[in-house]
Symmetry: C2
Subunit: 252 residues, 2 copies
Amino acid sequence: MIDDRPADAGRTGRPAVFSPLYQQIKDLLVQGLERGEWKPGELIPSEIELAARFQVSQGTVRKAVDELATEHLVVRRQGKGTFVATHHEARAQYRFLRVVPDEGEPLPAVSRFLECRRTRATADIARLLDLRTGDPLVYLRRLLTFDGTPIVLDDIWLPGATFKGLSAERLAEYKGPLYGLFETEFGTRMIRAEERIRAVAAEADVARLLQIAPGAPLLLVERVSYTYGERPVEVRRGLSVTTRHHYRNTLT
Amino acid sequence: MIDDRPADAGRTGRPAVFSPLYQQIKDLLVQGLERGEWKPGELIPSEIELAARFQVSQGTVRKAVDELATEHLVVRRQGKGTFVATHHEARAQYRFLRVVPDEGEPLPAVSRFLECRRTRATADIARLLDLRTGDPLVYLRRLLTFDGTPIVLDDIWLPGATFKGLSAERLAEYKGPLYGLFETEFGTRMIRAEERIRAVAAEADVARLLQIAPGAPLLLVERVSYTYGERPVEVRRGLSVTTRHHYRNTLT
DNA sequence: CAGTGGTCTAGACCACGTG
DNA sequence: ACGTGGTCTAGACCACTGC
C-alpha cells in the first residue's frame, strides 16, 4: 500500500498542481469513501495506518481527517477510531429534518407514502438533477404526521438510473430515515443540500391532504440534495403547515 | 504580560477544572474581544506574541485562533495577521441577510426606517431578551426594498439599556448594515442568531406596506440574535414577500 | 528584507474504550 | 495492557504582504 502516495508529496520538489499535502490526502480519502472502500458505519484505518500508507506524518493525516469530520463525512470516536458517517443514527437525524413542533421535543414524525412511481424528467427537474428532459425518474409523495396531525407533504424526484429498484412495498416496510434507505439500498449517501424557502397558498388537493382550508399559508421548502463530488441526487418540494410547527435555523 | 498565563497550564499537574489548554487560551481571547481589548476591524497580536504572553507553544495558540476563525469571531489574513471580525465588510454581509431574489445577484437592498421609538417589554419579548416585563426597549420598524419593490418588513426590539442613544436621525443618515451600526455605535457585536420560520397570511396594515393583497402568504422569520456569552441582544420579526424572492439555506 | 499566517514533521504524553 | 484519537510541543520551511 505504498503506491497510494500522492506524486511528489515529500518536502522537496513541487506537485504539478499546488495543493497542500493534507488536502491531497483528504481528496484520496473522499475518493475511498466514494468508491465504497469503507462503507457507512464502518471503521476506517487508524491515523497511524493512513500515515504509513500515504507516507506522510500522522499530523498531516489528522488535519485531513479533521476536515472530513467537520464536513460530517466521518465521525471520530475517541478510543475507538474514525467511522464513516451514516444516516442511521439519532445524531444525524435532525440535521436534515428542520420542521419541528413549537413546543416540546421533536417527536419522531410518522411517514406515510402516498405514491411511488416511475416518470420522466420535466425540463426544470432535469436541470436541477443534471439530467436531460425525458430521462427516467422515480417520483414519491409522502405525508409526515406529527403526533397524529399531518404537517408536511413532500414531493420527491430521484434519478431513475440510480434508484431503479425503489418500490412502494420497500418504502412501506422500511423504518427509519429516507436518506438511510438511500444509503443502504442504493449506495447513494446524501451529504449536503441547498434549500429555497417561500410562503405559498394551499391548493385544493394539498389542502385536503393536510386537512387545512384551501388558500391557507403553507411553507414551501425546495431542496436539492448532493452526494460526493457535488452530484445532485434528489429534488424535493415540501409543503408544511406552520401553525404549531416551524422551520428552525441557526445563523453562525 | 507573563501573568496572563492560565493557572497550571503546563505539561505537569492538572487544572482544577479540566479543559484543554487551547480551550482556555480561546476563552481568554474571547474575553479580550468582549472587553474590547481589540476592537472590530483591528489586528490582534501575532501567534508568536500570544504564545509568549500565555506561555504556551505557537501550535496551541494556532488551534485556539483557528476555532475563533471558524466561528467568525476573527478573520485570518495570510501575511498580514489576524483581525477582529466586523459587520462592515462585503464578506460578512450576506451571512445574516438570507432573503434574496430568485434570479440575478442579490442587489444591495435599500433600507427605510418607518419607526424608531422607546417602549417597554411585553412578557414574550422580555423572555427572549432575558429581561423583565416592562423593562425599557427600543423598537424599530423598517422596510427593505429590492430593486424598487418592497420585500421585507422588519419589526425589531432591542434592550433599551444597551441601545439608549439610538434615534431615527442616526438610522436615517447611516449607510450600511444595521449590525455594523450596533457594533460601531453601541459596542455590541452580533455573532449568532436562532430563527424560526413560518408561513402566515398578510394582515391589512402589513399588506398595504408591502403592496400586496390582504391575506396573501408571507414568510415570517422570527430571529433572536446573540452576542458574546450567549447574551441575547435583538429580537426581530421579518415578513417577506416570496413571489420573486426566497430564503436561502444550506444544510451541511 | 522581515514579519505574518500556512504547512509539515517527529515525538511526547493524556484520555478513552476494550480486552 | 494495548490501541485509538486528543492535546501539546519545538522547530523547519513555504507563501503572502508590505516596507
